[in-house]
């Protein structure tokens, strides 16, 4: 048996203490009793018609649920919008429970209302956020079918619920290989990646997608929410920028070429003058000197032309996944003996954790070899008794750095300014100045850049910087022999 005190409390206090608004109405829809909670929400109501209190309206409601319960005695639950005691709209969930006498009459209905105004407000906010946020949102179930898509998603991809995500995002007939939603379903973590899709107009669309797990309980992921930001325009700009950089490199190459040729032409003019003036004077020494100068400059222009051919051949970089550290090691091995013979210590500092990256291994080898050869030359021009060249490779925040540092003669500001813009050489007869240009061209083809830090007498640091996001994609390996679109080699074309 229930304790008498408890029973008394239930009779006297429960009505007032429950956190819902309770009103009891009679068959004339007059409120005969209500609790304090009701009065706080709707205002005082005893003896007044329910519609005047709940909705502050004179007439009865169009669809009166209480009337139905008075007729059939069934409990009903309804979502209602009324007006609170301050005149503000109030959303409430009302349970109507008919009080049935032993004779089967229904003299009263108890209406228990829960205030859901705040929940409704949050729902509206969520709805606006979901629909109007300037990114694509799709909620997927475990079958990868879209159960919900926001406005932008529907407008852009024509998404309809029930379709597979790959049909909508990519117009594919089967699942994608690199699916972030699959990862989110499997490990319950958010996964981010960049993808290329096709919109409903059939245009390519690039987007960065975040696949976040959704679960009603904490233990299993029932849905994944994919939120994708469109980066098509940024991607296009990035591509245009890369192209502009390539064109700038071509322009600078032409400018540099002109400079190189000017020097040789001056040498040829000089040779002509000395040779001719020797002939005029019958001076054999001069004739000899002029002839040698002509000979030398013709040789120079031949060398330049040969180098240029290899520079401008338009060799398509063959991109494959390689370990940059392997190439560093190769180049260091290649030059170690030559360096030692010139009293230069060649060292490698390699981050062995560096993951493979898409590079043209031959191109990267050329860049490193050029920089190492230059560094050894710079050491020869140095006044130090001993000199070291260090080749480093490391990665930081998805950016690969390859550095060649020497303790050689260094460069002053004016030389630094011209290092990459001209066929520039400080090696007198020894260099054509094409090495650094070629190096920069290859680096730019990889979306990277070359920085130089140098001071006279202290040495130089050449740093190649390759952000992983800008590296080219590895070429797919054809299973069949290359088709007719593949370019024949220079030799084949000439032959």
């Amino acid at each position: 048996m229930m304790d008498a005190t408890l029973q008394a409390w239930l009779h006297t206090q429960l009505f007032e203490q429950v956190p819902v608004s309770i009103a009891i109405i009679d068959r004339n829809f007059v409120i005969v009793e209500h609790n304090r909670n009701f009065e706080e929400l709707f205002g005082p109501g005893r003896g007044r018609k329910c519609h005047t209190v709940y909705k502050k309206q004179a007439g009865t409601c169009d669809a009166c649920i209480a009337a139905l319960s008075f007729q059939d005695g069934k409990v009903r639950v309804n979502d209602e919008v009324g007006v609170d005691r301050n005149g503000h709209p109030a959303h409430y969930l009302v349970h109507m429970i008919p009080i049935v006498t032993p004779q089967g009459d229904i003299p009263y209905i108890i209406e228990m209302s829960t205030d859901i105004t705040e929940i409704k407000r949050l729902q509206r906010e969520y709805q606006v956020l979901f629909e109007k946020v300037p990114c694509y949102i799709a909620v997927l179930n475990r079958d990868y079918r879209i159960v919900k898509a926001n406005e932008l998603m529907r407008e852009t991809f024509g998404a309809t619920t029930g379709q597979y995500c790959w049909e909508v995002f990519k117009r594919r007939a089967d699942r994608c290989e690199d699916c972030p939603a699959e990862l989110a379903f499997s490990d319950g973590q958010t996964h981010v990646c960049e993808q290329e899709g096709i919109n409903k107009q059939g245009e390519k669309t690039r987007y960065v997608v975040h696949a976040a797990p959704l679960s009603r309980t904490d233990d299993s992921v029932t849905h994944v929410m994919e939120m994708a930001v469109d980066v098509t325009r940024i991607y296009q700009l990035e591509q245009e920028k890369l192209e502009a950089e390539r064109l700038a490199a071509v322009g600078q190459t032409v400018a540099g070429l002109a400079h190189g040729i000017k020097n040789i032409l001056t040498g040829l003019h000089g040779g002509m003058y000395i040779f001719k003036s020797g002939l005029d004077r019958g001076d054999q020494g001069r004739i000899q000197q002029g002839w040698q100068m002509l000979d030398r400059n013709i040789e120079k222009i031949s060398t330049l032309t040969r180098n240029l051919l290899s520079f401008s051949k338009g060799k398509i970089p063959e991109i494959q996944l390689v370990r940059p550290s392997d190439i560093v090691q190769e180049v260091v091995e290649l030059y170690r003996d030559a360096a030692r013979q010139q009293d230069v210590e060649l060292r490698a500092e390699i981050d062995s954790q560096l993951a493979p990256a898409p590079f043209d291994p031959e191109g990267l080898h050329t860049c490193l070899a050029n920089l190492v050869a230059n560094a050894i030359d710079a050491c020869q021009m140095s006044e130090r008794p001993s000199c070291a060249v260090t080749v480093r490779c490391r990665e930081q925040s998805e950016v690969i750095f390859l550095e060649v540092e020497d303790q050689g003669c260094g460069m002053d500001y004016d030389i630094k300014q011209k290092v990459f813009t001209n066929f520039f050489t400080t090696k007198g007869e020894g260099g054509t100045g094409i090495g650094l240009l070629l190096t920069r061209k290859i680096i730019q083809e990889h979306g990277g850049k070359l920085e130089v830090d140098s001071s006279p007498g202290k040495g130089s640091l050449f740093r190649m910087i390759f952000p992983r996001s800008r590296l080219p994609k590895p070429a797919p390996r054809p299973e069949s022999p290359p088709d007719t679109e593949a370019r024949p080699s220079e030799e084949t074309r000439q032959g």
């Binding site: 020097n263 001056t266 000089g270 030398r296 002053d412 030389i415 007198g428």
Partner: protein, 144 residues
């Protein structure tokens, strides 16, 4: 040219062929020629014996032409000596060297490959101006 006293030209250049060419050609034109293979050597030569004219290349090892030119023109002992820059660098460089705040523009600027006529004409012009300037300076000096 005065027969009794040959004018002296300092050729500052690192390319051996250009050195040979300029030296012989300038000698044939009646000049005494001295050669410096970079800016440092040029500074030394100028100190030992100031020339009447300097032809100056820009891109050289050690001290470059730009650095030498700046120091040379800021030194009151040498500021009146005309300099002809002979370089393969392009028009942008001509603008750069002609508009520096730290030094006056060069008296002559000749792009490689140069014609002998152009060089001779430039030499005559700048040496003529230098002589006029020299007389002017002397006159001013006398007045003071």
């Amino acid at each position: 040219m005065e027969k009794t006293e040959k004018k002296r030209v300092l050729v500052v250049e690192d390319d051996e062929d250009v050195i040979t060419y300029l030296s012989l050609w300038l000698s044939d034109q009646g000049f005494d020629v001295d050669v410096a293979r970079d800016g440092n050597e040029a500074s030394e030569k100028v100190k030992q014996r100031p020339p009447d004219l300097v032809t100056l290349d820009i891109v050289m090892p050690q001290k470059t032409g730009v650095k030498f030119y700046k120091e040379f023109k800021r030194d009151p002992r040498y500021a009146h000596i005309p300099v002809i820059i002979i370089t393969g660098l392009q028009q942008e460089f001509k603008r750069f060297i002609s508009h520096r705040r730290t030094a006056p523009p060069p008296e002559g600027y000749i792009a490689k490959p140069f014609s002998q006529e152009e060089l001779l004409e430039t030499i005559r012009r700048v040496m003529g101006e230098a002589q006029t300037l020299s007389r002017e300076e002397k006159r001013k000096g006398n007045c003071a």
